[in-house]
């Protein structure tokens, strides 16, 4: 029952926050904070009992597994389960929820109750996505998490918020519908082959389907996740969604919603369609590499700060795609690590952009400049996270990108060399970001009332720095958490050898 409590907590918290707005405007954010902190309770016993040394791996892959009947006719049951991979991503979600909350503390003033309702419900949807094991339930959470995010962008966004919100919704929805059809096809084929009608991932994984129809079904799933991951042809929603979303929403969007795509590929596409994903692998890796380079090139010419960071996450997620389809243990661990590190470093950049926008009311790079003179602390953080996003060793992003590249080098050396050029391009746009905002001459007279980071902002940012450094220097506990899920996938790699 703990997982259902974990899901219900933000839902109820959201409702309470919205209802409490009647009494006092300041109440909703406190309730939101309380409900987010309460979400950590069900995880504490888990984390403490987690053996952090690499020797004793947890006996079965699933740490908690709960299932209740939901639609008996289709044999769909509300089946939630937690394993190392989803535990990591849930920790990231809850953490980023707190960060989003802290950045929205002062920024959102009108209709705060509704804002926190939508924020908490998006988080609940994302938690559901990471926990759902029943494919139907996964699809339901996949679509439901979009609705509150749509409201977040379209009510509290900036100038073109409606256009961006609708574009975001329709892109992901189109992918979702494609996934629904491939989901039904998968269940139909599985039913024909084995006579069991089930949507349960654990049963479906036992005898994966193969054949040319399986290829199309796998493609359906992958396209839905590529839209969310923003891989190349489907990435144009991300830039608009990020530029028009309020800071808290773009933090949740960057840190967590993008990861559902990566999580989906690792959890569903690779194990369910081993044959098809082997055939898909070269195209997807090529797509990943093009995404890396294209994202970096796009980020290089942007004048809007948020668009620059948005395109940089297109480039970073290109690495995740490369890692997922390289089919060996290093690349997969690297992909998981990249999701975590990117989540933290990009949302930190968004917090900073939010703080700059809150103080200077502009995101245009040509108007910003020379912030180091007036806001040394803020600029120092900006420098740190800009350097982190270009993959400086000793920080999380480097370990992830290194593992991904070393893993994919074994499969496709030429492709990896092209991807490695992405490291140079990453340096190009990150340095551009740092130089255009923090260094150089200030273009506007300094008025003293613009304060440097206050203590709340300082704590969030410094905690994110420590996490990134911890990820970079001591990633071992994170590697120990997800071995079993990824071990299965890398077994595929062994018989790939025979194939290729």
């Amino acid at each position: 029952m703990t997982l259902f409590i974990l899901l219900l907590m933000p839902l109820l918290g959201g409702l309470l926050a919205w209802y409490s707005e009647r009494f006092d405007a300041g109440l909703p954010k406190k309730i939101a904070l309380l409900s987010l902190l309460l979400c950590w309770l069900p995880l504490i016993p888990l984390l403490s009992s987690m053996p952090f040394d690499a020797s004793s791996l947890p006996r079965s892959q699933w740490l908690i597994d709960e299932s209740y009947p939901w639609i008996p006719f289709f044999n769909i049951n509300a089946h939630l389960a937690l394993d190392g991979l989803s535990l990591l991503l849930i920790l990231l979600t809850l953490l980023m929820g707190l960060v989003a909350l802290s950045s929205a503390w002062h920024e959102i003033t009108k209709r705060t109750g509704l804002f926190y309702l939508n924020l908490l419900w998006t988080l609940a949807g994302v938690l559901g996505v990471f926990l759902a094991i029943d494919l139907f339930l996964f699809f339901v959470f996949w679509e439901v998490m979009l609705v509150p995010m749509y409201f977040l962008i379209s009510i509290w966004g900036y100038e073109q918020r409606h256009y961006a919100a609708v574009k975001f919704f329709i892109f992901t929805q189109a992918g979702g519908l494609l996934m629904l059809i491939s989901l039904c096809a998968l269940v139909g084929i599985h039913y024909q082959q084995t006579g069991i009608l089930t949507f349960d991932y654990l049963i479906l994984i036992q005898n994966p389907i193969s054949g040319d129809l399986a290829f199309w079904v796998a493609l359906g799933f992958t396209i839905a996740f590529l839209v969310k991951l923003p891989a190349l042809p489907f990435h144009s929603w991300l830039a608009d969604a990020h530029t028009q979303a309020p800071t808290a929403a773009s933090i949740i969007l960057a840190a967590v919603l993008l990861k559902t795509g990566g999580y989906g590929i690792i959890r569903f596409v690779l194990p369910l369609f081993p044959q098809a994903s082997i055939q898909l692998a070269p195209f997807m890796m090529l797509l990943g590499v093009i995404g890396i380079i294209y994202g970096a090139m796009m980020a290089f010419v942007q004048t809007d700060l948020k668009r620059l960071v948005a395109y940089s996450s297109v480039s970073h997620m290109g690495f995740v795609l490369l890692g997922c389809f390289a089919f060996n243990i290093y690349a997969l661990q690297g992909a998981v690590m990249q999701m975590l590190a990117h989540g933290i470093s990009t949302s930190a950049l968004f917090v900073l952009v939010g703080m700059i926008q809150h103080r200077y009311h502009t995101r245009d790079l040509n108007e910003l400049g020379g912030l180091w003179l007036n806001l040394p602390k803020l600029s120092a953080f900006g420098l740190f996270f800009g350097i982190a996003s270009l993959g400086m060793p000793g920080l999380g992003n480097f370990v992830a990108e290194f593992l991904i590249l070393i893993g994919s080098f074994a499969q496709y050396p030429k492709l990896t060399i092209l991807a490695a050029s992405g490291l140079i391009l990453a340096a190009v746009y990150s340095l551009l970001l740092i130089y255009k905002t923090f260094f150089g001459q200030t273009k506007r007279p300094h008025d003293s009332k613009i304060a440097d980071t206050n203590t709340k902002e300082w704590c969030t940012l410094i905690s994110m720095c420590f996490i990134l450094i911890y990820l970079g220097l001591h990633p071992q506990p994170f590697f120990d958490l997800v071995p079993i899920t990824l071990m299965k996938l890398s077994f595929i790699a062994d018989d790939i050898g025979a194939l290729l």
Partner: protein, 616 residues
């Protein structure tokens, strides 16, 4: 023998801790300098102590580990430190020269408002360099490698107000980043081929795996790895393809140029090749390439230095050419002499930079040498140290520079590359010429600018120590000899023996003659104008890269600013809007049109039936 591994562990960590303390604390300037200089000085003492202990043994190894970093299936990497004669020499240079430069910059940077930020970066740099030098596996080396690159970026762009400095810093970071990526790809190749990244294991396994497989031991995989590692080294040590970032890197404060762009960071490339010398043995063609790169770079650097007018750019180009000498030595297989020259070069080039710093400090930031003159009497300490530095640079006999450069030239002849020897000789001639020119123009002749501020005590102290070192520092460290290959240099002909010794004197007299006839500052005759400009801009590599790489990339990105994939989706948007218009045209409220729609359906359905009939 007591275990010194905990002492070794302290070496890289001390500057790191002091950097963190400086970062997070609000100390007055005095305490900042105490912490900064103290930490680096203590590391210098530790390295001297280690030198004393390991003086007798020629092959000693001291390792210590600070914890595991990554251990997945085969890739198990930990923060391991590995001390052997080569890295002992390196940490002595880094910490010794580093401490002196820290001492010097307490005086130099005293009036600067960002005093704390400066020393944090400097300490961070020293700790990254120590990690680089002491790393026992290539990944930790890569960590130090990038850390050093980062600190050089931060320090070059230290005075961030000025747009020029930032661009120089970006250029430096990106050029070295290109080299680092090549090195990273080398790391991937090594791991996939040999299954490990531990340096010593690589040397052993490389010999075991590759030398057996084919006969002429010129295995392509080995040369590919070495080529990629060479890419990294070339990027970091500013060799031929990636060298034009170093002259612009002079935008940073002068002690930074002294520390990073003369003594320590630029030598990382040489250290990398020296450290993997067994691996490089397996790829003789790559070694020859290293020698070639060394020769071309030393000629390029020396010729460019001859025509520069900016004091620091002359020293920058001279560093490039001296590094070229070290690469040449490595290329011909004389690793020990390369490292020996590296040591002596660190001393006299640091001395020259610091002296130049003192000059600029006192001539209120004037860089153009033709605006200075006759400063011999006004700044005696600076003048004397500058003279000793130029002497060592020109490798006049009995200076530290002389011993190391002669050794290299001898080794080049012993290895049979006479062509390269003649180029090296020509380079030596140019070096002697420009150092003499530099000294005469700055210190002799009519005084144009009068110095206002005297260098402080700490600056003069640093200058004196360095002058002593560059005069008597030419002791060839024992441990190096047997760690790395050494060629016996006794079979030299008299010409090959005496020419390198006499050459500097000829060059100095030529420079004296030109100075006396006041031809130095004059504009060059018209027909030489083009060549003069070409050489002055560092053989136009900047212009070359701008046209080949930078502007096409910028143009391509600018063209695609609207993200043509997004245009595709906007097109879909427009067509659906137009389709809506088209269909709603039908809804014009005419009842007779609605009746007609029913009839049209009948006709269409019947037509489909007939089509079906005809098809059968």
């Amino acid at each position: 023998m007591t275990d010194y591994s905990s002492l070794l562990a302290l070496v890289p960590l001390l500057p790191l801790f002091s950097a963190l303390i400086l970062l997070f604390s609000k100390l007055p300037k005095l305490w900042i300098s105490i912490f900064a200089v103290g930490s680096v000085a203590s590391v210098a003492l530790i390295s001297l102590f280690l030198n004393v202990i390991f003086w007798q043994q020629s092959d000693f190894v001291l390792t210590s580990s600070l914890g595991t970093w990554i251990n997945l299936a085969q890739l198990n990497i930990n923060f391991g430190l590995y001390l052997d004669p080569l890295s002992l020499v390196m940490i002595t240079i880094v910490s010794g020269v580093g401490a002196l430069i820290h001492l010097y910059s307490t005086g130099f940077m005293y009036q600067d408002s960002d005093f704390k930020r400066y020393f944090t970066y400097l300490n961070l740099f020293i700790s990254a360099m120590l990690f680089l030098v002491l790393a026992d596996n290539l990944l930790l080396l890569y960590l130090g490698w990038e850390g050093v690159g980062l600190c050089s970026y931060l320090l070059i762009g230290f005075w961030y107000q000025d747009r020029k400095n930032n661009l120089a810093a970006n250029k430096a970071f990106l050029m070295t980043r290109i080299g680092d990526t090549a090195m990273a790809i080398g790391l991937f190749l090594l791991f996939t081929q040999l299954g490990t990244l531990d340096i010593q294991e690589i040397q052993i396994k490389a010999h075991a795996v590759w030398s057996l497989t084919n006969d002429n031991n010129n295995n392509t995989m080995a040369s590919l790895c070495c080529l990629l590692l060479l890419g990294g080294a070339v990027g970091k040590s500013a060799q031929l393809p990636l060298q034009n970032w170093l002259p612009d890197a002079m935008a940073g404060p002068t002690p930074v140029s002294a520390l990073i762009h003369a003594a320590t960071m630029v030598t990382a490339g040489i250290y990398l090749i020296a450290r993997n010398s067994q691996l490089f043995q397996l790829a003789p063609d790559v070694l020859y390439l290293v020698a070639l790169i060394g020769t071309f770079t030393l000629l390029l650097g020396a010729s460019a230095a001859m025509v520069q007018t900016d004091l620091k750019r002359i020293l920058a180009y001279s560093t490039i050419s001296q590094l070229g000498y070290m690469f040449l030595a490595l290329g011909v297989g004389a690793g020990a002499s390369a490292v020996f020259h590296l040591m002596t070069h660190a001393f006299f080039k640091a001395l020259l930079f610091l002296a130049a710093g003192a000059l600029i400090y006192s001539l209120h930031h004037e860089h153009n040498i033709f605006k200075m003159g006759g400063l011999l009497k006004k700044l005696p300490v600076v003048a004397v140290s500058f003279a000793i530095g130029c002497a060592a640079l020109a490798s006049l006999p009995f200076t530290a520079g002389f011993f190391s450069k002669e050794l290299i030239l001898a080794q080049v002849i012993a290895s049979g590359h006479s062509g390269l020897w003649w180029a090296a000789i020509l380079g030596a001639f140019f070096t002697a010429f420009y150092s003499a020119r530099l000294f005469f123009v700055v210190f002799l002749g009519p005084t144009q600018l009068s110095p206002n501020a005297k260098p402080t005590k700490s600056m003069s102290l640093a200058l004196v120590i360095l002058s002593v070192l560059s005069l008597f520092g030419g002791i060839h460290p024992e441990g190096l000899k047997n760690l790395m290959p050494q060629l016996d240099t006794d079979g030299l002909s008299t010409l090959q023996h005496w020419l390198p010794i006499l050459l500097p004197f000829i060059a100095i007299s030529l420079a004296w003659w030109l100075f006396k006839t006041k031809r130095f500052g004059k504009p060059v005759p018209t027909f030489m104008q083009g060549v003069h400009q070409l050489v002055k801009s560092g053989w136009a590599f900047d212009h070359l890269y701008q046209t080949i790489f930078v502007s096409p990339f910028k143009y391509l990105c600018q063209v695609n600013k609207g993200d043509f994939i997004d245009l595709f989706y906007r097109l879909i948007e427009k067509t659906s809007g137009r389709l809506h218009m088209a269909f709603s045209q039908f809804q014009n409220g005419q009842l007779r049109r609605y009746n007609a729609s029913l009839v049209i359906f009948c006709i269409l359905a019947f037509a489909w039936f007939i089509r079906g009939e005809l098809m059968l």
